[in-house]
């Protein structure tokens, strides 16, 4: 039985990018676990189980009843991690979606219109680059008293800058290409040119940055929650599970280890997948050394 050329091409791609592929698989598994959390979780994530805590009041280590142990209030850690995946992914997608939208819009306009408006937008991105993202996010969260959605907004507010700069550079290069110049010469309106002729060429870049952006968003959310100004308990998030339990890390290291690994695994799989996508979609990336 012979494989078609198309199948061979896909197989080759998969072989060369097996790391990216495994990243995608892990990512899908985490999404599935988050979606199925109510089915998979052995306990209610907020239930403070009477037998979830030892006689002297400390958390229980991993066992048959509690695969990943229990936390300081006697709640099942596996159940909290499964529901926490929902928090991390929702914030990851919402925050990332907003920042990609803002960044793409501003980058497009700045790169296509140039002039005073474009200059003003790019000077504003320069200004944003001067602030460390984490510190600015901390300042914004402190002012706005975070809820789940505020946290997502804050992360979007500090994360749009990089994508805006990337889109800006690419738009400038595209705007000078013949097919764009020709479309404009035919009298197409700027909005039409941007949406129908420029944007489609930017989709690969946007796709790559969306994937990589999930990693940085998830890390930022975890760090904010760890510092106590991200998602508020009792809503479980991987960062605030560590925040709540960190005083116990000497006697109950699993309470830091498991959520920590979960955060790193999610970010790692997004990074691997995003990097492979970049490789596949943009083989001519400038400055890339093989």
């Amino acid at each position: 039985m012979g494989a078609t050329p198309e199948q061979i091409r896909v197989l080759r791609l998969a072989k060369r990018h097996w790391l990216g592929l495994s990243g995608a698989v892990v990512l899908l598994a985490i999404v599935a676990a988050a979606l199925l959390a109510p089915e998979l979780a052995p306990y209610d994530p907020n239930d403070q189980l009477a037998d979830g805590i030892s006689a002297d009041g400390s958390p229980l280590p991993p066992s048959h009843e509690h695969l990943l142990g229990t936390d300081l209030l006697g709640r099942d850690l596996l159940s909290r991690l499964l529901f926490g995946a929902r928090t991390s992914l929702v914030i990851g997608m919402v925050a990332n979606g907003i920042s990609i939208t803002i960044g793409t819009l501003l980058g497009l306009v700045a790169g296509y219109v140039r002039g005073t408006l474009g200059g003003a937008i790019m000077r504003f991105t320069d200004l944003m680059m001067a602030f460390p993202a984490l510190l600015l996010a901390i300042a914004l969260s402190a002012i706005f008293q975070p809820s789940l959605w505020i946290v997502a907004m804050v992360i979007a507010m500090v994360n749009w800058v990089h994508i805006a700069r990337v889109i800006y550079t690419e738009t400038i290069a595209l705007a000078e290409r013949d097919f764009i110049v020709a479309t404009r010469a035919l009298g197409a309106r700027p909005v039409h040119v941007l949406l129908h002729h420029v944007l489609p060429h930017l989709l690969p870049t946007i796709l790559v940055w969306s994937t990589l952006g999930i990693a940085s968003t998830v890390l930022l959310e975890a760090t904010l929650s760890y510092l106590g100004i991200g998602v508020r308990p009792p809503t479980p998030s991987w960062g605030n599970i560590i925040f709540e339990n960190q005083t116990y890390f000497r006697s109950a290291p699993w309470l830091v280890f498991f959520p920590g690994v979960a955060i790193a695994l999610l970010a790692f799989s997004c990074n691997l997948f995003g990097d492979a996508l970049r490789d596949i979609l943009d083989p001519h990336e400038i400055g890339r050394v093989r």
């Binding site: 790391l19 000077r123 504003f124 320069d126 200004l127 001067a130 602030f131 460390p132 993202a133 984490l134 510190l135 600015l136 901390i138 300042a139 914004l140 402190a142 002012i143 990693a215 890390l219 975890a222 760090t223 760890y226 510092l227 106590g228 100004i229 960062g239 560590i242 960190q246 890390f249 000497r250 290291p253 830091v256 280890f257 920590g260 955060i263 790193a264 970010a267 790692f268 997004c270 990074n271 691997l272 990097d275 400055g287 890339r288 050394v289």
Partner: protein, 306 residues
């Protein structure tokens, strides 16, 4: 030359002005009523009004902003809502510890990243190269607080090699600096690798080899000298990453620096202190980028100043 220096300084000054405008807005314009926060929860309406007048919050915004700039120029960063003392003195008391940690972390990151990057570049395509590049990805994907707590558990609690947090001796410094260095080093190893690979393909490297220079000398003397510049520029750009790193790592290890002050201020929602730290960090980033741009042409004459 003169014009280049002048225009770079001008650009930096403009960004600094913008930075001040933004922190001003976040301090006095965005929050609901700063005067009420300063006066405290039990304050009467009259007390709040008198605080408002004292702080100048009843004046037009441009006047307020002008006063804010004058105060900044005098080194006055406002007063803490909680401790009532000037923010600048709170900051100055914590600055030495943070500068120590920051320098140790940058050194650790450079040492780890450059060593790994050079090995990867020399062994390009082989096992060591692939392993290092994979570890670099693990590094950028692991949150610093997780790495910090895990290193603390392993080396202090289990093995007892280092003290469990605190400040004072060189052994207190090892784990916090390593936490930042190990994770960030991955990123630098990628930079170092690609920079070194590019340099090793240059004609002058072939010439050096043809003249009989040993491989070690070629890589470490001829190669490193030329491959280092992108790394230097990266340190300037990464200043924000380093500062974010110290905030997190200081709160994990109880390192009594600016980061821990930030953590305390977060718990008490002491906005003037949080904004002051953010402002100082932004100023440090702008200045370090300016310095890198001014130093780079001195190190590498091929960089044009325009």
């Amino acid at each position: 030359m003169f014009r280049y220096v002048l225009s770079r300084i001008g650009q930096s000054a403009a960004i600094l002005f913008g930075v001040a405008m933004m922190t001003f807005a976040l301090l006095y314009v965005v929050p609901a009523d700063p005067a009420a926060q300063v006066a405290g929860r039990s304050a009467t309406h009259e007390q709040i009004e008198s605080v408002r007048h004292e702080m100048g919050l009843d004046r037009p915004l441009p006047v307020q902003f002008g006063l804010y700039l004058v105060h900044l120029a005098q080194g006055d960063l406002g007063r803490s809502y909680v401790q009532r003392s000037p923010v600048s003195s709170l900051l100055m008391a914590r600055l030495p510890a943070t500068l120590l940690l920051l320098s140790a972390a940058i050194l650790a990151e450079l040492a780890i990243g450059m060593t790994a990057g050079i090995i990867a570049a020399v062994d390009r395509g082989k096992m060591a190269d692939r392993l290092i590049m994979l570890l670099a990805f693990v590094g950028v994907s692991t949150p610093r607080f997780v790495m910090g707590i895990l290193l603390l558990y392993l080396f202090s609690v289990e093995l007892g090699w280092f003290p469990i947090g605190g400040y004072g001796t060189a052994s207190h410094l090892v784990l916090p600096a390593l936490t930042i260095g190990v994770l960030g080093g991955g990123w630098y190893s990628r930079m170092m690798r690609s920079s070194m690979v590019e340099v090793l393909n240059q004609d002058y490297i072939r010439t050096a080899r043809a003249k009989g220079a040993g491989e070690g000398r070629v890589v470490l003397v001829h190669g490193l000298r030329n491959a280092f510049l992108p790394i230097l520029a990266m340190i300037g750009i990464d200043m924000g990453q380093f500062m974010s790193g110290t905030v997190v790592v200081e709160s994990v290890y109880g390192w009594p620096g600016v980061g821990q002050l930030m953590w305390e201020s977060i718990q008490e929602i002491d906005i003037p202190v949080i904004m002051a730290i953010t402002l100082v960090a932004a100023v440090a980033i702008v200045v370090s980028n300016l310095l890198v741009d001014l130093i780079a042409p001195l190190i590498d004459p091929r960089i044009k100043m325009d």
